[in-house]
């Protein structure tokens, strides 16, 4: 479990290096770039803000798309709440650690029991927090000299990490079809909505599928009756 947290942390550190470099390249100073990794601490939103600002977008539209993208953490938090059962100061601190990687590890570990799930969340959240911030600082400092982080293939490391987290969750037909549908919906949405929003659109896929399944089950019961 701790090894898993560490490898997730190292993988996100590679991503953090590229965030630091991209932040400086987008015109933020080193302090602003590092402040984002400490205070925002959700990679997608950080890249969204830096991307919009770097592309000449306004501060307002940058912050709006970043916060919108960060709204998925509310769904993660709601999913984690019954596992973590945190209150008071623990909840205030734990909330900052709610993001893609800590949620994914906690939910996979949860299958080995609630203790493993909680350990997965805190270990991954804290490991990623430390490594993400160190990597951001290094990336920001190196930003001006490294040039393009894409030369190191860092932009392929991020989707590969998501793929690695996704694959173990594909255990039945429903999860496979939801993954394929979500990927297609998000890709189709890319040219149509602001950057960051396609992932939120894809979040509707499981809602639609589950509601439709329930409708079909209801019909079947209604037509066939109960043989027993």
């Amino acid at each position: 479990m701790l090894r898993r947290s560490l490898s997730v942390g190292v993988a996100t550190a590679a991503y953090g290096l590229s965030f630091g470099a991209l932040g400086v390249a987008a015109g933020l100073d080193v302090t602003q770039t590092c402040a984002m990794s400490v205070l925002v601490f959700t990679g997608g939103s950080q890249f969204a803000l830096v991307g919009v600002l770097g592309g000449g977008g306004s501060a307002l539209s940058g912050a709006a798309s970043a916060v919108l993208l960060g709204s998925r953490n509310a769904l993660y938090g709601a999913r984690l709440a019954p596992l973590l059962r945190v209150r008071g100061a623990q909840r205030i601190a734990g909330a900052q650690l709610v993001m893609d990687e800590s949620t994914a590890v906690a939910l996979s570990a949860e299958e080995q029991g609630d203790r493993a799930g909680r350990l997965g969340f805190w270990a991954t959240g804290l490991t990623v927090f430390v490594l993400w911030n160190l990597a951001t600082l290094l990336g920001a400092l190196a930003g001006r000299s490294v040039g393009d982080p894409r030369d190191l293939g860092l932009d392929a490391a991020a989707p590969a990490a998501f793929l690695a987290l996704l694959l173990p969750r594909l255990r039945d037909r429903t999860s496979w079809s939801i993954a394929v549908a979500a990927a297609l919906v998000a890709t189709a949405a890319v040219p149509l909505v602001p950057a960051g929003v396609p992932v939120l659109v894809a979040a509707l896929v499981p809602v639609v599928v589950v509601l439709r399944r329930r409708g079909e089950d209801g019909d079947r019961r209604g037509m066939d009756g109960d043989p027993r």
């Binding site: 993988a11 402040a35 803000l49 916060v67 769904l75 994914a104 392929a156």
Partner: protein, 102 residues
């Protein structure tokens, strides 16, 4: 305060409030079978969408570039049951080499 600092702080506060709101959601709501089923499948949808978008999108444009080769190589590594960190390195290395070659 500069506009950039304002954007950074607004983003930080907004993102934190979403995280906190999620953790503070009433547990009863999640015990409803429909909500439980949706929230169980939600990570699958989000991870698939994030993987697809980060492989194919640059801003609001779809682009086929070295990232696709990197992610394809990562998929092969995953199917060969390579450890997580190896998968990541394979992806980055493949994308970097493809960029060098093209």
């Amino acid at each position: 305060m500069s506009a950039t600092w304002a954007a950074v702080l607004v983003t930080a506060i907004g993102c934190y409030l979403f995280k906190l709101a999620g953790l503070s959601a009433p547990l009863k709501l999640l015990e409803h079978p429909l909500v439980a089923r949706v929230s169980d499948l939600l990570p699958v949808a989000l991870l698939a969408a994030l993987a697809a978008v980060q492989t194919l999108a640059v801003g609001t444009t779809l682009v086929l570039d070295a990232r696709l080769a990197g992610v394809a190589a990562a998929l092969v590594a995953l199917l060969l049951r390579a450890p997580f960190i190896v998968v990541i390195l394979v992806a980055a290395l493949t994308a970097a080499l493809v960029r060098l070659a093209v």
